[in-house]
Subunit: 313 residues, 2 copies
């Protein structure tokens, strides 16, 4: 069964791990990864979501801290601080920097980000194929209440999303194209799954790449997993993002934000948590195919169970 | 007394340290540093000679190994090897990478290499001013016997200069300009000193920047210190470089290679080692002002004594 997942970082990684356990042949899984929170920092190119998924699938991620590599150290970062370079609030781990330097060197050699992702994916037997959503450099900027514009990472990591955002912008996205293989992976999949990632800054940028929505329109079947459980975000600060675009932090509001394919949206089926079962009838009355499932991915078995539920016809 | 030194890495650093001890006001020392062995590696910009001099002047260099930072580690480099990225034979230390990343980030922000050097020079109280010879990117390439062309660092560090070189090339040097301040530092100095650095790949590139020879022509006084003692190179593999351009590894041959200003060369005075005293009469017969001095910079006191000798009218 060919499965294509649209995913952001940590939540996406957990879902994809479950999916890898749930299917017979992981080779048939393609993950289209958000690159909207990519950035240049201290001269190197960072792709946080690609790396989060890669590290998680390789089993080298730091599960306690929730991000980065296990066994990480920060010698280079301490030097950068001593130089007054980079962002003191954005730590670059030494092992992680190995990835950034390898990537930046390959990009400098002329490789496209999708070719770099292929090389990165070849180091460990991760099974699945990782594709950046686009080879075009499209970083997300955030406009906050007082009109200041900043890189998404500054808003997210430095300010912990505490400044009220009024808009998310992706300069250049109108000219971006899906990375080679993205449209085919969506069109040829038996199921496309929108992972329970941040709808605004993880899934949003993927859908904003010209051609992706059209490809989803031609897909066999598109299933979404709610990132909201019981009216709360599972992790991260998606509520601050949803508020900025006027969407309530609720499983049904996010479904309506994505929309049904029958009405110009991107989804056929929407998985909500048992805690949100009461929201199902309202959506069903609007024509939605809603499934109530256990959405907590608290261990590999539960993640695999959720993935199986997402694949169920 | 205003002193300007043209210098390469390790030998240059030792001489400049001695000079700093020898003069009353280190503020009046400007070091014009070779950038011919700069390179891009794993996405970052390396400037080995700038860093060698900086680390030595700051007292943070590894004196046992002879290059890089003291207390260095290689965690990032191990990752790069695991990725199959970069050059496995060219180690990037973690502390050193902090410098490379700070520099690369600042270059990416739009700073010129000379502005970056100023920032780098401000971290420690090194006293002297460091100027790259040029802000133009001019890396040295080496052509070896079989016609293969490679980056200087590949020839020098990977092959330990063991492949017979037939030419050193600096693509783009004809269009390079001296970095801001270089010409003034040469013209306004009371003495310009050519440090006992590699004449071919350290001092050579500086002299090849259009405008530098002309500035030396207008300088008050230019003194050179022989990098050859008793017919042998003090360190490094300058003999392999000299052979490639048809110059004998001998103190008098190097003097003639630089040439007297009175005859279109760059020097007024040439310091040779006591071991090479026998070569002095021959040079004197040709009109050279030759001084026989102890040239071994085996400790700070001897380095300062040599610097004083170079400044003596």
């Amino acid at each position: 069964m060919r499965v294509t997942v649209l995913a952001g970082g940590v939540g996406g990684a957990r879902f994809v791990k479950g999916l890898r356990d749930a299917v017979e042949d992981a080779d048939e899984i393609t993950v289209v990864v958000n690159t909207g929170d990519d950035l240049w920092l201290s001269g190197v190119r960072l792709q946080p979501d690609i790396d989060s998924i890669l590290y998680a699938l390789a089993g080298v991620n730091d599960t306690e801290r929730g991000w980065g590599r296990a066994g990480e150290s920060e010698r280079v970062s301490a030097e950068l601080q001593a130089w007054g370079a980079g962002w003191p609030w954005f730590t670059l781990g030494d092992l992680d920097l190995g990835t950034h330097l390898a990537r930046t060197g390959w990009l400098r050699d002329g490789l496209a980000p999708s070719q770099v992702a292929e090389r990165l994916g070849a180091r460990w037997p991760i099974g699945v194929r990782l594709l950046p959503m686009t080879d075009t450099e499209v970083d997300t900027h955030v406009v906050v209440e007082d009109g200041t514009r900043m890189h998404f990472q500054e808003w997210w990591t430095r300010h912990r999303a505490s400044l009220r955002a009024t808009a998310f912008e992706s300069p250049g996205i109108a000219d971006a194209r899906p990375a080679p293989g993205v449209v085919e992976a969506i069109e040829e999949a038996d199921v496309v799954v929108l992972a329970p990632s941040n709808p605004v800054v993880s899934i949003g940028p993927i859908l904003a790449v010209p051609g992706v929505r059209e490809a989803l329109g031609r897909a066999r079947r598109v299933v979404g997993v709610s990132p909201i459980i019981g009216g709360k975000v599972v992790r991260g600060m998606a509520d601050a993002c949803l508020a900025a675009i006027g969407v309530k932090t609720a499983a049904d509001a996010v479904a309506r934000h994505y929309g049904r394919r029958a009405e110009g949206g991107v989804l056929d089926t929407w998985l909500v948590a048992e805690e949100d079962a009461a929201l199902a009838p309202g959506l069903e009355a609007e024509g939605w195919d809603v499934r109530v499932e256990p959405l907590w991915m608290t261990d590999p078995e539960r993640s695999a169970t959720l993935a199986r539920a997402a694949l169920r016809p």
